[in-house]
């Protein structure tokens, strides 16, 4: 038992370094992906075809293709088109696209949950559609979407493990590397699992609490 503890202690710095990269990728992907999701949500509802069609394409491909394939597309595929990305940039590119595509649906549902009567009231008072969007629809829509968005953030952190496939030294890659050297896969992968769980379990519980709280504040 103390043997495992010593092994874990030895490996921990490398795993934490990996976790740090996982978190950086997650943060960057969310920082780009959430605003992108809002834009795509609005774009898909647009009446202008030149806005609607590209938005729809980005959403459908981002949701339809596996994140792993998008990731490999960004890292191994884009060079064919003359664009070479670092592993980190490719990871952020792919996961931000993925995030934008999925959260656009979450945010759209949130925006649609705003009661029509409020939109009508704003209109009856002469508020312009863009003001209604900015002050009435978006603030409430995002609030409704908040739990699902947090839930998706957890999914993005988990998805960073896919970066193993493009040799980005994040948590799963580092654990795997230690495994190949020591052949103690079971122990090292368990430790990596504990590290993921240490972040994702509280976050998942928080999503549940947030959902309940939000339910209470409904009018």
């Amino acid at each position: 038992m103390s043997d495992i503890a010593a092994f874990w202690l030895d490996s921990l710095p490398q795993l934490l370094a990996g976790l740090s990269i996982s978190l950086q990728v997650t943060g960057a992907a969310l920082a780009i992906g959430f605003p992108l999701g809002l834009l795509l949500a609005l774009g898909v509802q647009s009446k202008v075809k030149a806005v609607k069609l590209p938005s729809l394409c980005l959403v459908e491909i981002g949701r339809g293709a596996p994140a792993l394939v998008v990731l490999q597309f960004a890292y191994f595929g884009l060079p064919q088109g003359g664009l070479t990305l670092s592993a980190f940039a490719a990871a952020v590119f792919a996961l931000a696209w993925n995030t934008g595509a999925y959260t656009s649906e979450i945010i759209r549902a949130g925006l649609e949950s705003v009661p029509f009567g409020e939109i009508e009231a704003a209109s009856a008072m002469g508020m312009l559609p863009r003001d209604t969007l900015r002050f009435v629809i978006i603030p409430q829509g995002l609030r409704v979407a908040a739990p699902a968005l947090l839930g998706f953030a957890v999914a993005v952190l988990q998805a960073t493990s896919l970066c193993f496939a493009i040799a980005l030294p994040e948590l799963t890659s580092n654990a795997y590397m230690i495994g190949t050297i020591t052949f103690r896969y079971m122990e090292i992968l368990s430790l990596a699992g504990i590290l993921y769980a240490a972040i994702c379990v509280p976050a998942t519980i928080a999503v549940g609490v947030l959902e309940q709280r939000l339910g209470k504040h409904a009018l």
């Binding site: 009661p115 009567g117 409020e118 009508e120 009231a121 704003a122 209109s123 009856a124 008072m125 002469g126 508020m127 312009l128 003001d131 002050f135 009435v136 603030p139 409430q140 609030r143 504040h217 409904a218 009018l219």
Partner: protein
């Protein structure tokens, strides 16, 4: 009713224009959903300061008519005339016309439609800032005056969900008044409320009527229609079937359809 503080002088707060010239005219309003005729050649004229109640069985087109006035649901044909503003219902209005119309006409809904994510004060101030271009400070000052007028200045920092239905509707009235409309439309303002809470809303409306506001009120409150409004219009099947001085129409209706409706209401 007496728990509404009488903070403001009730007499003639809203300027009365030329007494005989109508402030609002609805001309030949027709509306069809496919083959179904919802409004059939409705003509109404309101003088400044006049309070008109529209009553009638559900499905008679009362609320639909109200929504034609401010173009929330335009009619198939007909005209709405408010002062210099002439709106042809069949033609999409320009953005400028629409803004002018919505500023001239305030509306209060059955379901209040307050913005739940904003404080009571923000609810009343936001439209002033965005539509009238008032500063935050000026808007808040005006909002507090109006909240005082509906007896709710102490609720300014609360959120709508913390207010009773009656209070929410009074806030919605203050919000509509904040844009200084010439005419106020009320779409069954008490129908979603318990009778007791409805009374406090009716008290505010009565105060508003006495202060000289021009009001077009769709309602089921016979007492309000009889005692507060100057005129009553009875609608059925998309048509006006009876109109005249409130007491007369409600006490002595002439048409059979109107008699049947009023009897049904009284016997309930």
């Amino acid at each position: 009713m007496n728990h509404i503080p009488d903070t403001v002088n009730l007499s003639r707060m809203h300027p009365v224009g030329e007494p005989d010239k109508p402030i609002l005219r609805l001309e030949a309003i027709r509306k069809k959903f496919g083959e179904h005729v919802v409004l059939d050649d409705v003509n109404i004229s309101l003088k400044s300061g006049e309070v008109v109640a529209i009553i009638g069985p559900s499905g008679s087109g009362k609320s639909t008519l109200l929504r034609c006035v401010n173009m929330l649901g335009p009619a198939t044909s007909g005209r709405v005339v408010i002062g210099d503003l002439v709106i042809d219902e069949a033609v999409p209005p320009t953005a400028q016309q629409l803004t002018q119309l919505r500023r001239s006409v305030g509306m209060v809904f059955q379901s209040f439609n307050l913005f739940p994510h904003m404080s009571v004060l923000r609810n009343v101030s936001l439209p002033q800032e965005r539509v009238l271009g008032r500063s935050r400070k000026d808007a808040n000052k005006r909002s507090l005056e109006l909240l005082a007028r509906v007896g709710l200045e102490d609720k300014a920092d609360q959120y709508p969900a913390r207010c009773s239905g009656g209070q929410q509707q009074r806030i919605a009235i203050a919000r509509a008044l904040a844009l200084e409309p010439q005419i106020m439309l009320f779409d069954e303002p008490t129908s979603a409320l318990d009778p007791e809470l409805g009374l406090e809303v009716l008290a505010v409306m009565q105060e508003l009527a006495r202060s000289g506001m021009t009001m077009l009120v769709v309602t089921h409150e016979m007492n309000f229609a009889e005692t507060v409004s100057d005129r009553v219009i009875i609608m059925a099947d998309g048509k006006i079937i009876e109109e005249g001085a409130s007491r007369e129409v409600i006490r002595n209706p002439t048409s059979d359809r109107a008699k049947r409706f009023l009897k049904a209401v009284k016997d309930r």
